[in-house]
Amino acid sequence: MTERFQPALSLLILAVGALGPAALAAEVEETGPPLVESGLVQLEVGRQRAPIGYSLTVVGPLFALQPMVARLGGALELGPLGQGHTLKLDETEFRFGPDSPALTEGEEIVSLSQPPRVGEGGLHVPLDLLDSTYGARYGLEFSWQAETLQLAVIQRPPREVAVSVDVVRVQGVSTVVFQFSDKPRYRMVRRPGSVELQLTGDRLRYGRRPSLPDAGLVRGLELEPRYVRLTLAPDAVAEDYTLERPFRLVFDVYRGANRAPGTAAVPPPPRPSDDGIRTIVIDPGHGGSNIGAEGPAGALEKELTLQLARTLRSHLERRMPVRVVLTRNEDAELPLDTRVAMANQQKADLFISLHLNSSPGQSAQGAETYFLNLVASDERAAQAAAAENADPLTDLQLILWDLAQSHHMAESQRLAGLIQEELNEALELRNRGVKQAPFRVLMGAAMPAVLVELGFLSNPLEEERLTDPLYRSRLAGALVDAVSRYKAIREGVPPATQETLR
C-alpha cells in the first residue's frame, strides 16, 4: 500500500471504526487461523491483576496488546487498516503486520506462530511476539495458564553475559569492539560527549579489559555489570554497528567537523550537497498473485524480496542519513510502471529493484546486476531504432524516454558496478557481472536505477541460503556497502564506514 493512499485509508479506517470493532474483527478473522474462543483472562503483573482481552485460535492463544503496553511500558502505534504496527520499547522499534506472522527489529526478522488479530480490547498478539519484544528487551517472562485463564508476567533473574573489550587506533579512528558470549539485551543512550550501553535484564562479566591509547578519541571507558559508558573527546563522533557469530558491538570513533590540524584520513560526516543521496526507493520484486520465481523447496521470490527490502532499509537508515521508501511493504501486487512512478514522485536519488533469479535446470548460480538497455546494441538494432524513428509518435516516445534515462545511464552503470563488486567480495558469489537488459521496471526512472538479482532460486543450494535471515542480512550489508561507496563518490566524501554490516 503506498503512502499516497494513506488519506483514503484514514477515511476508510474511520468508516470501519464507525461500524464498530466487530466489523474490523470480522475482516481480520478471514485471514488468520480459525478462532476457537474469545473472552477475558487475568493479567498478573507482580501483585496486580487486571482483565484483558484474549482470543484462542487453533494455533494458540493471543492477548490484547494495548492493556499490556499500559502496564509494562512502551508505546504502541497502530497503522491504518491493512498496514503495519509499531511497538516502541525505549529506543527499539518492533514492527509487525496485521496479517503477517513475522516481527521485525531492525534487520532482524522473527517468525511468529500466527499473525496478530483484532478482538476484545483491540489488537491481540501471540505469546511469541511478547517474548520477542518485552522478553528480549526488558527481561520479562510470560507464563500462560490455560486452565485458570491467567497470564503471569514475571521479571527473569538477570543473565550473565561474558564480554571482552578491545580498543585499537588506526589512522585517526579509534575502534572499540565488545565481543559477547551471547547477544545481550541492551539499549543505547547517546548524550553529548558520551555513549552509554544500558543492559536490560542482563549483567556483564568482563574478561579482557583494554588500556586506552594516549590522547585517543575515547577518553574514558567505564565497564560496569549493568552498563558501559564511553566518554568521547569533545569533537569526536561515535558510529556503531554490530557483527554476528560471535555477536560483537563495534564503535568507530573519529573527529567531527572541528578536527585538529594535522589529523588526516578521518571520515567526516557527510556534508549536504546538491548531488547528494537523500532518498532511496527500494523495490521488492513481484508481490500478490505475481509470485515471481519459485524454488524447488517452495521458496517464493515475492516473499524473499520483501524481507530483503525491509532488511536493506533497516541497514541503510542505520548506516547513513537517508530516507528509504519501499514500493511495497506487504504482499501486494503492484504494476511495474507504478513502482518507478513512485520513485519519481518521491524524488528519489536512487532506485534499486530487488529480485531473485531462476533459469532452466538447477545449476545456474550467482548474482548479477542490471541497468537499463537504452541504446541499440548492434548495427541492425540501430537500423531497427532508425526505422522506428520514422513514426512521429514513436519518435516522441523515444525523445521522452531518452530525456528520462540517458542522463542517468552512466550513473546507473557505476552503481551497478559497485553493487556487483560488493556482492562478489562479501559473499564469494559466482560473478555473473553487470549487464544491460530492457527491463520494464527500470524504464522512465528519473534517477540512477538498477535491478539486482541476488541469487538463483532455481538452484537448491542458493534457495537454502536465501531463506536464511542471516544470509539475507549479509546480502543487505553488501548492498549497503555499495550504496555507501556510491554516495561517497557522488558527494565527494569518504564512505560512511569502512566496515560491512554482516
Binding site: H286, N290, I291, G292, A293, E301, L336, D337, H355, L356, N357, S358, S359, P360, G361, Q362, S363, A364, E368, Y370, A376, S377, D378, R380, A381, Q383, A384, A385, A387, E388, A390, K435, A437, P438, F439, R440, V441, M443, L451, E453, F456, L457, S458
Partner: protein, 191 residues
C-alpha cells in the same frame, strides 16, 4: 530380364519407396534419435538452408544448434520456420525448449520496416509462464536472436501472446518495442 530379376527390381523399388516415405514423414520433427542428415536426402542441397537456432541451456545461457531447413518462399515463412523449430524443441543435451508443448505459433508478420511480429498462443495460458528474469530473458532472446540470425530482412522482433502485445513478456522484459539481436546471452561455446 528373367522373372527372378524382375522380382528383385520390384522388391528393391518397394524398399526404397518405403524408406522415402519414412523420411518424408519424419522430416521437420528432429529428435535426438533421428538427426536430420543421417540418411541420403531426396532433395538437392540447393533446396536446404542452414539455420542457427538458440535454445536456453541449463547453465543459464543460449546454446546454439545448427539445422538444415527447406528453403522458405519468403522472409515471413523463414521466420515462421525458425519459430516452429524452437517450439518443437532442441536436440542437443543440456538444451531445453523455450516454451512448453502447449504453446503454438499462431501467426508471423513481417512489417515493411523489418519488424517481425511473432504471435505465440496457448489456449490454456492467458499469459506466458512466470520465471526469474534470466529465464525470461532466455525465452525472449531464444526467439529474437534465432529469427534475427536467420532472417536478414528482419531488424527487430515483437513478441505477442494470444494475439496481444503485452507491456512485458512475463513480468520483466519490455515487449512494447521491437527487440534487437543480443549476442551477450549466447553461451561462449556453441553446444
Amino acid at each position: 530380364m528373367n522373372r527372378r530379376a524382375a522380382a528383385l527390381v520390384v522388391g528393391a523399388t518397394a524398399v526404397l519407396a518405403i524408406l522415402a516415405l519414412a523420411w518424408w514423414s519424419t522430416a521437420g520433427r528432429q529428435t535426438v534419435d533421428t538427426p536430420i542428415r543421417q540418411e541420403p536426402q531426396p532433395v538437392s542441397s540447393a533446396e536446404l538452408i542452414n539455420a542457427e537456432l538458440y535454445f536456453p541451456n541449463t547453465a543459464g545461457w543460449l546454446g546454439t544448434e545448427s539445422r538444415d531447413l527447406p528453403a522458405a518462399e519468403s522472409a515471413e515463412d523463414r521466420a515462421a520456420q525458425v519459430a516452429s523449430e524452437l517450439l518443437a524443441g532442441p536436440t542437443a543435451p543440456g538444451h531445453v525448449a523455450p516454451l512448453s508443448e502447449a504453446v503454438e505459433l499462431a501467426s508471423v508478420h513481417l512489417s515493411s520496416d523489418g519488424v517481425v511480429y511473432l504471435d505465440l498462443a496457448a489456449a490454456q495460458l492467458p499469459a506466458p509462464p512466470v520465471s526469474g528474469s534470466r529465464g525470461e530473458l532466455l525465452v525472449v532472446y531464444s526467439f529474437v536472436n534465432s529469427i534475427l540470425a536467420n532472417v536478414p530482412e528482419a531488424r527487430g522482433v515483437v513478441l505477442l501472446w494470444n494475439g496481444n502485445q503485452r507491456p512485458t513478456f512475463a513480468g520483466h522484459v519490455d515487449t512494447t518495442r521491437p527487440l534487437p539481436l543480443e549476442r551477450k546471452w549466447l553461451a561462449k561455446r556453441a553446444s
